[in-house]
């Protein structure tokens, strides 16, 4: 018989306040739950839930507005960065994040993704890349791997016809707008801790005005991959991580700059029109 009394109870693990006490619609073994928790822990630890507005995508996490305790907006498919941009412009003191999957962010919403990034909006983007459209039942995604079988690539993704998967972190890292871009995964306690660190950093950057911060989480879809959760992570490690290497793709602070704007300015130092301060009065 249990002899534990309330007096002896020592809480070592509990639901983050920013994660509402509801049952999610995620499949068993899906990484969305882990990443939701990491985001919610971050909102708690930075004490920003009350001034945070989240933007949910269209995809499996479409109902994230029911799971996070902060104010939430459900955006049209792919438009979360445009919606987040406007919210941040209206309330610069709010913390604004978009939570998007690969179809939403890298296919239908690629224009919004690239332009929010190149504008250097001071927002946080959490990108779940599991190489498939989950909600609609397992179609080819912009990040599906070569020869990956999906419902709409039944003979495997033929890159000669369907083209190549997009490496979004690498793509965005070429732009001047972003401050911080990191690719992580959540397949092990060690990697979950690393992912947490990256997500927390991406929110802290926004709070500190460092600029656009983007965390890509290489993830799984046991249901639509037709694998057990454990096999999914194994398949992800074997196939996705070589294509989508983990790591930091841009970090202006590590490069010695206060924010993305300073880093961009240094990069285009040789462009006269971008640097009127270096020109004589006549040039102005």
């Amino acid at each position: 018989m249990s002899s534990v009394t309330e007096k002896e109870t020592n809480v070592v693990f509990e639901r983050p306040h920013a994660l509402l006490p509801v049952v999610t619609n995620y499949c068993p073994g899906c990484a969305h739950g882990i990443v939701h928790r990491l985001v919610a822990e971050t909102l708690d630890e930075l004490d920003i839930e009350g001034r945070t507005v989240g933007v949910a995508p269209v995809g499996c996490s479409v109902m994230a507005y029911d799971f996070f305790g902060c104010d939430m907006i459900e955006a049209a498919h792919g438009r979360a960065p445009a919606v987040a941009t406007a919210v941040k412009r209206v309330h610069p003191d709010n913390v604004v994040f978009a939570y998007q999957g690969d179809g939403d962010l890298a296919s239908i919403g690629m224009a919004e993704t690239v332009h929010a990034a190149t504008r250097g909006e001071n927002i946080t983007i959490i990108f779940i890349n599991n190489a498939i459209y989950g909600m609609t039942g397992g179609q080819m995604a912009p990040t599906s791997l070569p020869n990956q079988v999906t419902q709409t690539s039944p003979y495997g993704r033929d890159v000669s016809s369907a083209g190549h998967p997009v490496r979004v972190s690498e793509l965005l890292a070429t732009l001047d707008g972003p401050a911080y871009i990191e690719r992580v995964t959540v397949d092990s306690p060690k990697n979950v801790r690393k992912a947490k660190k990256a997500i927390k950093r991406a929110f802290q950057n926004q709070v500190d005005g460092v600029g656009y911060s983007f965390v890509e989480v290489v993830s799984t879809c046991p249901t639509n991959w037709g694998m057990t959760p454990q096999d999914s992570f194994e398949w992800m490690r074997e196939n996705m991580l070589p294509y989508y290497p983990l790591g930091v793709y841009k970090d202006v602070v590590a490069d010695g700059f206060a924010n993305a704007a300073e880093a961009a300015s240094a990069r285009n130092a040789a462009c006269p029109i971008a640097h009127p301060e270096t020109q004589g009065e006549e040039a102005r």
């Binding site: 509402l20 839930e49 009350g50 001034r51 945070t52 507005v53 933007v55 479409v62 109902m63 507005y65 029911d66 996070f68 305790g69 902060c70 104010d71 939430m72 907006i73 459900e74 955006a75 049209a76 438009r79 445009a82 919606v83 987040a84 941009t85 406007a86 919210v87 412009r89 209206v90 309330h91 709010n94 913390v95 224009a111 919004e112 690239v114 332009h115």
Partner: protein, 362 residues
């Protein structure tokens, strides 16, 4: 500066710029747009003036992004506007539908040009159906104002923002390239103090630990719940149809021939009505100022005298359907229109009035 009878200053302004200045005066501090002829002066005016009033002008990457920025700013509680011309409005259809589905206010200006497709850049009214029937997918309507002078463009902007907030709905101002590009003397509206605008307790501004979380959303996976929301929205639309119909009548009291025209074509129709009266024909004009709700009541009142109706539009015949619905076969309803950016002349319209009058007299 000239002064009108009330002692208010008149300024000469281009329609597109008058729309922009009036929006700022209505308390709009957020504008998201994308360049397209013939509305570009509106965006350019916003780019110039918004920084001076502490507002935000942002040139979006596309019309799709612009309307979704409107969605976001509105969700965050801002008085917000976008503008475009016909092809761009088609791209905004997605966001307009989502705004309707999430009950978000906002003002969308369409300075119409000829279509379909890329069409042309000359004035047109061929987006009447799009504006009043199907601006996007799903069961929804939006209030549509159709000004016919630069002064009226100024006046309806304030009304559009107020109606959007009152009914929590997107509102469109349907102008055209002629009105957008023409210059007329106007008295600008008195500036609103943005801090006195209506409270929006539903907005996603951050709960600050003071309330439950707000959610702005148009997704309802339970059919019964979604149906109920549609029914509630249509109850609101019924109030709009009852209270917001607006039209101008001109010489309709004894009119045998009632011309119905909106926006720029109403200016031409009015000249034709004057010419018809000079020729001894009892002609009158009904000019809908709201296209949705369509001014059924005003048009209904003309059926007691009207022997025939002539609907004049700069398109292939769109509003004529709404006129036929009201007239319901009690008198013939004829259509005269020019399309593709061609503007009908008063002489062409007069010719049709004379022909209708001759037929009605037989």
């Amino acid at each position: 500066m000239a002064q009108n009878a009330n002692g208010k200053n008149k300024v000469l302004m281009k329609g597109n710029e008058a729309l922009a200045e009036s929006a700022i005066r209505a308390g709009c501090r957020f504008f998201f747009g994308y360049p397209i002829t013939p509305q570009t002066e509106l965006a350019a005016y916003m780019a110039k003036m918004m920084p001076k009033v502490g507002g935000t002008y942002l040139q979006a990457e596309s019309e799709v992004a612009a309307i979704n920025m409107v969605y976001g700013a509105s969700a965050a509680g801002a008085r917000v506007m976008t503008s475009s011309s016909s092809p761009g409005i088609s791209l905004k259809g997605e966001g307009i539908s989502y705004m309707a589905g999430a009950d978000l206010p906002g003002v969308i200006i369409n300075v119409q040009r000829g279509g379909p497709g890329l069409g042309g850049i000359q004035p047109s009214q061929s987006d009447y159906w799009q504006a009043t029937r199907a601006a996007g997918h799903g069961d929804f309507q939006m209030i549509v104002y159709a000004p016919s002078t630069v002064q009226e463009m100024c006046d309806v902007v304030t009304d559009a923002f107020d109606a959007a907030d009152k009914y929590r709905t997107p509102v469109m101002i349907l102008a055209d390239g002629m009105l957008g590009q023409m210059m007329e003397p106007v008295v600008l509206p008195e500036p609103h103090d943005p801090s006195t605008l209506p409270e929006k307790p539903w907005a996603t501004t951050g709960h600050r630990g003071q309330r439950a979380h707000n959610v702005v959303n148009s997704l309802y996976l339970t059919a019964d719940e979604l149906e109920e929301l549609n029914v509630q929205r249509y109850e609101r639309y019924a109030v709009i149809q009852r209270d917001e119909q607006r039209a101008e009548t001109y010489l309709t009291e004894d009119a045998d021939i009632v011309v119905v025209a909106f926006g720029a074509s109403a200016r031409i129709a009015r000249s034709a009505v004057n010419a018809a009266r000079e020729a001894g024909i009892k002609a009158g004009l009904v000019r809908p100022i709201t296209l949705w709700p369509f001014p059924d009541d005003v048009l209904e009142a003309t059926t007691s005298t009207a022997k025939a109706y002539l609907v004049v539009e700069m398109n292939m015949g769109q509003m004529v359907d709404d006129v036929k619905l009201v007239v319901s076969g009690r008198a013939p309803v004829e259509f005269y229109g020019r399309a593709g950016g061609v503007i009908p002349t008063p002489a062409e319209v007069l010719e049709r009035i004379c022909a209708l009058n001759a037929e009605a007299g037989e």
